[in-house]
């Protein structure tokens, strides 16, 4: 079986503060993997370690069969990442940001970018500073998808998107996954996981628990959050 993401015993701490502890995770090719957990549970730390933003203390991460530290640039050329907060250079136009990302990737993504902008109703002539939070998210989706990556990593992608755009977003994910891509979706929205994900895991207190099925009910889901608050 081909695994697109293989994390073994990942441990990352911030000085004395806990980040994630002994996280092991495998995501199969073609999966839409739901990554759940309360705020501060360690989801973003895990994702940021995968992306090479953080240097972890222990463990190993393999993405698309490559080492996340040694082959960072090769991995990033095959990954489409959308952070939870979508920030770009204020003075640039949307079209400039999109072509800037494509240029750095060394790819002509103009056709795919045009298709995505049309589907997501992105006004490419506007300056970034003129965009609302939701519209910045849409630009981030275009930047993450325009090069048709093998792996998508989305960190709370639907916050700020209207329901119609949320539907378009998941339709797009479905289309890319049907064409061989894999998706890791970090979210707080249980319905997204139930509806779109094929497998899922939940993080709490920096530790990861694999779920038997992504279809968990509200009560079971909220129990993770309640326990976190009590702890």
């Amino acid at each position: 079986m081909n695994y697109v993401i293989e994390i073994d015993n990942l441990t990352k701490s911030y000085g004395k503060n806990r980040g994630v502890v002994d996280v092991s995770l495998k995501v199969k090719e073609g999966d839409i993997f739901g990554f759940l957990g309360p705020n501060g549970a360690g989801k973003s730390t895990t994702i940021r370690s995968m992306m090479g933003f953080l240097r972890f203390n222990k463990g190993s991460i393999k993405i698309l069969g490559m080492d996340s530290v040694r082959d960072r640039e090769k991995i990033l050329s095959e990954v489409g990442y959308m952070p939870s907060e979508s920030w770009f250079y204020d003075s640039m136009k949307v079209s400039e940001v999109i072509s800037y990302a494509a240029d750095i990737r060394g790819k002509d993504c103009s056709k795919e970018a045009e298709k995505l902008c049309e589907r997501l109703k992105v006004n490419t002539e506007k300056k970034i500073r003129e965009l609302s939070y939701g519209n910045r998210k849409k630009v981030s989706i275009v930047c993450a998808m325009q090069h048709r990556p093998k792996l998508f990593i989305f960190d709370e992608p639907t916050g700020g998107l209207d329901p119609l755009m949320q539907r378009s977003f998941f339709e797009l994910i479905g289309e890319y996954v049907d064409n061989g891509a894999t998706c890791l979706l970090s979210t707080h929205v249980l319905t997204e996981v139930n509806k779109y994900c094929k497998s899922a895991a939940i993080m709490r207190d920096g530790r990861l628990t694999m779920l038997d099925s992504p279809s968990i009910d509200d009560d079971e889901f909220l129990k993770f959050y309640e326990d976190e608050v009590e702890a």
Partner: protein
């Protein structure tokens, strides 16, 4: 890497234009004032050259401000030295840290380019901006000489602008290293650093005990009155400055490559 360099240059072009026209323009205006003040300056020149430590600090004990060379060195030299160093400090200190401060780092660092390439592109951009700043100021000062109808002291003028360029690169190098450490842009600290270097040079010229340590400060080898009065170049200061610049750049590359990036 080219794309990052061009983007940075484009984004900083307004700042470059404002600073170079402001500093170069003030220097240019100072030069133009020379013809109208020439008579009065001549009367004051003797007094200025006999003001003890004050004259030493501003180089008026070695150069007469009644001459165009002396006037340029003391008046325009101060404006350019301070303005140039502040500009260099300002652009360098935010070059890396702004990505984290403005939360654009997650976009940039998710693209398939190594951190070292990003640091290199940004370092080259700083260098290009400092060179362009120097060229614009040089052009404006040279124009001032032409309008005044005074002969441009080519050798001293070229040396002065070249050493100021080297000095600004050193200050930028120090601030670039700071930028690699902090996730907030240390604007105040960078401007303060440029002023401290200037003050250190002033004090070093009047306090005997400090004189032997003058070479530590970047202003020591780029002092206008030293250059225009034909004093020997302080090779020790220049070498020290070169070492500091290299150390700071190497530090920025290594540290930035290894550190965790803030969200």
């Amino acid at each position: 890497m080219n794309r990052i360099f061009i983007k940075e240059l484009k984004m900083n072009s307004k700042m470059l234009l404002i600073w170079s026209l402001a500093v170069g323009g003030i220097g240019f205006a100072c030069l133009l004032l020379y013809s109208s003040m020439e008579g009065e300056i001549r009367g004051m020149a003797d007094a200025f050259s006999n003001m003890g430590m004050f004259s030493d600090a501003f180089g008026m004990s070695t150069l007469s401000i009644a001459t165009i060379k002396g006037y340029f060195a003391t008046e325009v030299g101060t404006v350019h030295g301070l303005g140039g160093s502040m500009f260099a400090a300002l652009i360098a200190v935010g070059m890396l840290s702004k990505e984290e401060e403005h939360h654009t780092g997650e976009f940039l660092y998710s693209l398939p380019v190594s951190r070292r390439s990003i640091v290199l592109a940004k370092a080259i951009c700083i260098l290009a901006m400092i060179v362009l700043f120097s060229l614009i100021c040089t052009g404006l000062y040279a124009l001032g000489f032409v309008i005044l109808g005074e002969e441009l002291p080519v050798k001293e003028f070229t040396s002065y602008m070249a050493f100021q360029l080297v000095m600004n690169i050193e200050i930028a190098g120090i601030c670039f290293a700071l930028s690699s450490v902090f996730s907030k842009t240390m604007t105040g600290a960078s401007l303060g650093l440029a002023l401290i270097f200037y003050l250190y040079d002033l004090l070093g010229r009047v306090i005997p005990d400090l004189k032997k340590y003058l070479f530590i400060g970047p202003f020591s080898y780029a002092n206008a009155s030293d250059i225009f009065s034909g004093a020997d170049l302080s090779v020790k200061a220049l070498c020290f400055g070169g070492c500091i610049t290299v150390i700071c750049l190497v530090f920025a590359f290594i540290h930035y490559d290894r550190r965790d990036l803030a969200a």
